[in-house]
């Protein structure tokens, strides 16, 4: 049984169709990259799956259960965690406390939440900054803290929304290692939205491409980059005509 099944998902905002008949199946243990130009509907899809937006039509199944009409906190409790693209984490809480909020999903006891938070921080090499406020950290570290917080809830599936945006190459290396660690060592199934192609191509088992709300292509990273439809979505029709689909 697949871990996540999206069947014909449609999401309208007034007259704008942000997600148009999208169907995606994800197996346990996969790492799927979700790419597409700006405005393709990637984040909207995350919002619909995680229960933040009600869907217009279509069904979402998670771990054998229909989660289409569940609220965001109920979806989260079933083991579907996510990060947010724009999230300046708490001014009030320090790094450790931020991660604890995630851990509190699985326990009532503050001491157990703290212990679990520290395990995760050690795992992601963030324990040096656990006393800092999140606003005092670099963007890269902030992004990793949001990942750690999501992991605090011990998810089965983790949706990462542009964790590498705005990072420099060495920071991208670091976060790539984190993602691999989460996927391989912690056994979490991951779907990531990313604009940094280098990262998507290196870590993903499979890549799904959205454009103007529709799924236009799906496949392993090597074939996806050569798919004319994908090149067209990114570079325009004329480019494809003139170069014959070769983006060398």
């Amino acid at each position: 049984m697949a871990l996540l099944e999206i069947h014909g998902l449609i999401k309208d905002f007034g007259g704008l169709r942000a997600n148009d008949d999208i169907s995606i199946t994800m197996e346990r243990g996969e790492l799927v990259g979700l790419i597409g130009p700006n405005g393709a509907g990637k984040t909207t899809l995350f919002n619909c799956v995680s229960g933040l937006h009600p869907v217009t039509s279509g069904r979402v199944m998670f771990d054998g259960q229909d989660i289409t009409d569940l609220k965001a906190h109920e979806v989260a409790r079933l083991g579907l965690a996510r990060t947010f693209q724009v999230y300046v984490a708490s001014g009030d809480l320090n790094v450790e406390e931020n991660v604890m909020v995630g851990c509190f999903m699985r326990t009532r006891s503050p001491s157990r939440a703290r212990a679990r938070a520290n395990e995760i921080l050690k795992d992601l090499n963030l324990h040096d900054v656990s006393e800092f406020r999140v606003s005092e950290l670099t963007v890269a570290a902030q992004k990793r803290v949001t990942m750690a917080t999501a992991l605090g809830s011990d998810p089965k599936l983790l949706l990462l929304d542009e964790v590498a945006a705005g990072l420099n190459p060495s920071e991208i290396e670091e976060i790539m290692a984190d993602i691999r660690h989460v996927h391989e060592d912690m056994g979490v199934t991951v779907m990531l939205i990313e604009h940094v192609m280098e990262l998507v191509m290196k870590v993903s088992d499979r890549v799904i491409v959205l454009d103007s709300g529709k799924k236009i292509a799906e496949g392993d990273p090597e074939t996806i980059v050569e798919d004319p439809r994908v090149i067209k979505a990114y570079l325009g029709e004329r480019y494809v005509r003139e170069h014959g689909g070769d983006i060398g």
Binding site: S50, A72, H73, F84, S90, D92, E97, M105, S111
Partner: protein, 335 residues
Amino acid sequence: METIKNALDFSDSPRIDLTIAGLVALFLLVFPIFPHSAFAMATMIQFLMFSLYGMGWNTIGGYGGQVDLGKAQYVGIGAYTTAVMLIRWDVPFWISMPIGMCFAVIWSFIIGYPLFRLKGHYFAIATIATTLVLKDIFEVWDFVGAARGLEISPIKYIPPDFLRLIFKQDVYYYYVILGFFFLGILYVNWFRRSRLGFQLRSIKDNEDVAQSLGINVHWAKVKTYAIATAFVSLVGSFHACYIKNIEPEDTMSLDLSILIALMAMLGGAGSLWGPIIGAGILIPCKSYLKEWLGAQVGLVGIDLIIYAGIIMVISAFEPRGIWGIVEKVRRRKRS
């Protein structure tokens, strides 16, 4: 067990804070021994009462960031329950106080459940409106004395009556409320590091993120609103026995609601010591300004002008209040 341990654990506060807190606690314990005027004693009792109001408000308003300007309705419910039960059926304070708390909490669920569908300013305005409605109801409700209010006649009881909380000397009231004050601090100290406390701080930051971490945002707010209500209602019950004369105008007024919120915000919303600092500054100000400038010099209403000024200064310079300034200075020193 862990709960009690956590309530007593102040280890995350710097040593200097704990030293100051210890000295203040010691001063509060021995204050009645020193010669003092009746006016000073009354001011101290007011300070403790308002600290407790502020601590209650701080749970939902400070940690949860939901600006609640309707706390007075719960002061009224607590005060009226205790007064009515004592006058009509001779029920002692220690029984009527928890019953009043239950009424207040039930009312808070009825009010809070729909109101927390609103956000920000809309929520604040709605809390004001519900208080005004409840006050109007009490002003025409004969069973509770309507606009005349209720009076607990002290001559019917032989003071000191510990069960009914009827005393001749204020020092008894002082120690009762001081006991609640210390318990209140322990409770908030536990609360801020409990699961609900963390969840609220996450909600205050970003509700979408909070939801995605499995937090039922609406329910967490309603629950915390009930906790804040329990605090306020307890002090309301105490108020009835202490003042012995209650009317809708002074237990349920908008002034009181605003003063409760203002105090916590001035001291520092969302911090353990903030509401106490706020009460420690505003209550003496209020009493002495009213006494000197109001009654003696004839500047009636001067205290209100000063509150308004304080609100403007806080919102313009440091929304996190006095405690916010302390923390800012400390962080600057550290880095």
